[in-house]
């Protein structure tokens, strides 16, 4: 277990900047998710933590000690790859015991430790099988056992759930969380799936174009996104964003305008979450263009004075049909304002 620090970490490939300066502290025993779209540098960061890539500049420290020049095999880091990367030529038990080969551990003790960890991740029923004879979920557990058997300072998970079907994903989410808590191992999860990130991790780091956009608890990212990128990336269905113009008292968006509680000026972007829009007696007129039942709620798309807006309504049955005219009310507390030029959030609230 270790406290991990990244200081101004950079990685440049020929002609490209994969990671453009990251500062991050991961407390001992914490579970941190790095969330971002593909190509944002999250996997590169993970590989630098593992010691597979050398950072171009900046420092990585484990418990205060700089490990930049320590090879992957010296870092005592466990990693679970998206493909699981099990060794096909070895049995499950041999796979789990593999990392212990390189430590000075008696074979008998190594076997005992491997069995113990196999029981923890619940793969002790098929230790003699080959990886190709296992289901995706079982392979995933074996990969996890192999990463954990050496009692790593740091556990790295690279998109660990993306190759599983929906049901298994749910189970493995809780399983990984349970195992991480039980062992108290410092864990970094890399994912592009916000549900994975927010359900499993204590803290979420959102990355974009090689930089950290925002770091915080899941609800912070959702309710108080620092930037336009975080607002649009976190939340499903995605937030409605409208270009507008603030003139001190109101924000003008398309044909609609919303009064401001605090004064601000200039081009802005107004963000409205689909669930903070309600159909009401009075409000912005809109015409429903699509109704998509999603199980517990219905997602509507409508043409309004703001432009095309999406909103959610609870209930399995659609209450409005295509072509219906409705009035929409936006709850002011949940609307977000961003500066158009910088993309940063403006703390000015819209008036009730």
């Amino acid at each position: 277990m270790a406290r991990i620090e990244l200081k101004n970490l950079r990685k440049e490939w020929v002609g490209a900047n994969a990671v453009a300066g990251i500062d991050l502290t991961i407390e001992d025993g914490a579970f941190v998710a790095v969330l971002g779209p593909s190509g944002c540098g999250k996997t590169t960061t993970l590989m630098m933590l593992a010691g597979i890539y050398q950072p171009t500049s900046g420092d990585i420290t484990f418990d205060g000690a700089r490990v930049n020049d320590v090879e992957a095999r010296g870092r005592n880091v466990g990693i679970v790859f998206q493909s699981y990367a099990l060794y096909p030529n070895m049995s499950v038990l041999e796979n789990i015991m593999f990392p212990l080969r390189f430590k000075k551990i008696e074979r008998a003790e190594a076997g005992a430790r491997a069995r113990e960890i196999a029981a923890l991740v619940r793969v002790d029923g098929f230790l003699d099988r080959r990886p190709s004879q296992l289901s995706g979920g079982q392979q995933q557990r074996v990969a996890l056992a192999r990463a954990l058997v050496k009692r790593p300072h740091l556990l790295l998970l690279d998109e660990p759930l993306s190759n599983l079907d929906a049901g298994l994903r749910l189970t493995m989410r809780t399983e990984i969380r349970r195992i991480q808590r039980e062992l108290g191992v410092t864990t970094v999860l890399v994912t592009h799936d916000q549900i994975e990130a927010t359900t499993m991790a204590d803290r979420v780091v959102v990355m974009h174009a090689g930089r950290v956009e925002q770091e915080g608890a899941a609800e912070d990212l959702y309710e108080r996104p620092d930037t336009l990128f975080v607002a649009s990336f976190v939340g499903s269905p995605p937030i409605n964003l409208f270009d507008g113009e603030a003139d001190g008292a109101v924000v003008k968006v398309h044909q609609a305008s919303i009064p401001l509680a605090e004064s601000t000026r200039g081009p802005v972007v107004l963000g409205i979450r689909p669930e903070s829009v309600q159909v009401a007696e009075r409000g912005t007129p809109a015409r429903v263009t699509a109704a998509e039942p999603m199980g517990r709620e219905v997602l509507y798309t409508a043409d309004s004075d703001f432009g095309v807006i999406r909103f959610l309504e609870a209930g399995a049955e659609p209450r409005h049909r295509e072509g219906d005219s409705v009035h929409l009310h936006v709850s002011p507390a949940s609307a977000l304002l961003f500066d158009k030029a910088s993309g940063r959030r403006i703390d000015a609230r819209i008036a009730a």
């Binding site: 590989m47 593992a50 010691g51 597979i52 090879e71 992957a72 095999r73 870092r75 880091v77 466990g78 990693i79 790859f81 998206q82 493909s83 990367a85 099990l86 060794y87 096909p88 030529n89 593999f98 990392p99 080969r101 390189f102 430590k103 990886p131 190709s132 192999r146 050496k150």
Partner: protein, 361 residues
């Protein structure tokens, strides 16, 4: 209501036709299969017949003229048997029935063959295995005095050449293939293109320069000289093949091994090499067979009879006794072809994967 009827009408009509459609599909499948089978048989006859003839001659011919009546008698039994079996194979519904048919047909054909040509079989032609002076017995000593070494000298020379080829090519091609697959270095693309050009280049055109070089180095008329030349000429292709196999091994597995505490070398040995096992077997077998069957280079670079390999031995035997005793030539040929044949039979499934360069998890 009327609209519903219009839709239901043709559907009902079609339902009555299902068995007829099934019969038609079955007929089509069987005739297509028969056509493919017939084509394969016709194409394989010119390949199989000479080998069959070779074996028949080796076990039946006697000194003097050669007669083909045994061949035709054997064919007269085997061809109907094969045709009969292919018909049974297509018609028979169950595995057990097919197996039974195989046993019955084999038994009948075996009995017929034993009765018709059994008395003509003998092993005299294989006396070259124990008597190295068989040529002298056939021809006057004046023309062939002590020219022939024991066949085992040639056999072990061939074996040494083929095994050394296998070892050299496996070692160099796997290391070089891995390096090219995994590392970037200056001139990597040029190197890759070079490999292909070298493979496309007809090595035979170099035979005189190589002869001179071997002479100057002092390796002319030695097995080691041929080993080096053959390895150098064959390697580019095998390096390329091995690179393909290594390309198919995911990087993740190696990275995983290295975070698990392995050095790069350990990762290569413990995790990557087992993944390309199929490639190693295929390349090894091809290298072996290629060296075993080599003729032009050994013919040019090996002179003294103690350095003969099997292909040279066969050449000189046929050169000396052709027209006198075909049986012995055929027997030597059978002996020569046996190791290649066995290797092919046992490693077939690996060899077919070589060109694909694919890996099965």
């Amino acid at each position: 209501m009327a609209a519903n009827d219009a839709v239901a009408g043709p559907a009902l009509e079609a339902r009555g036709d299902w068995p007829a459609l099934a019969r038609r599909a079955w007929r089509r499948r069987v005739s297509a299969q028969a056509a493919v089978l017939a084509f394969l048989v016709v194409v394989s006859v010119p390949i199989i017949l000479p080998y069959f003839w070779m074996v028949v001659i080796a076990f039946t011919a006697r000194t003097g003229g050669v007669s083909s009546d045994v061949l035709w008698t054997a064919c007269a039994v085997i061809v109907p048997a094969v045709i009969l079996y292919s018909i049974v194979h297509m018609m028979a519904a169950s595995r057990g029935l097919r197996l039974g048919a195989v046993v019955v047909i084999l038994a009948i054909a075996g009995t017929l063959l034993a009765a018709l040509v059994g008395s003509r079989l003998h092993l005299d032609n294989f006396r070259f295995l124990t008597h190295s002076d068989f040529v002298e017995e056939l021809r006057s000593k004046a023309t062939s005095g002590a020219q022939f070494p024991s066949v085992w000298t040639a056999f072990f020379n061939s074996l040494a050449l083929a095994l050394s080829q296998t070892v050299i090519i496996l070692t160099v091609a796997s290391l070089a293939g891995y390096y090219i697959s995994r590392f970037t270095f200056r001139g990597r693309n040029a190197f890759l293109q070079g490999l292909l050009v070298l493979h496309a280049f007809p090595a035979m055109t170099l035979i005189i320069p190589i002869f001179l070089m071997l002479y100057w180095i002092g390796l002319l008329d030695t097995i080691v000289g041929v080993m080096l030349v053959l390895a150098a000429i064959e390697l580019p292709f095998y390096v390329f093949v091995m690179k393909g196999f290594f390309d198919g091994v995911p990087w993740d597995i190696e990275m995983s091994a290295m975070t698990d505490g392995a050095t790069r070398r350990q990762a290569f040995r413990l995790v990557v090499l087992p993944q390309v096992r199929v490639g190693l077997i295929a390349v090894g077998v091809f290298a072996f067979i290629r060296a075993w069957e080599e003729y032009i280079f050994v013919r040019t670079f090996l002179i003294e009879n103690k350095n003969w390999v099997m292909s040279l031995y066969l050449f000189w035997v046929s050169d000396d006794v052709m027209g006198v005793d075909y049986g012995i030539v055929a027997a030597v040929a059978v002996f020569y072809v046996l190791p290649s044949l066995l290797l092919y039979v046992f490693c077939q499934k690996y060899l077919t994967q070589m060109t694909i360069g694919g890996i099965k998890g």
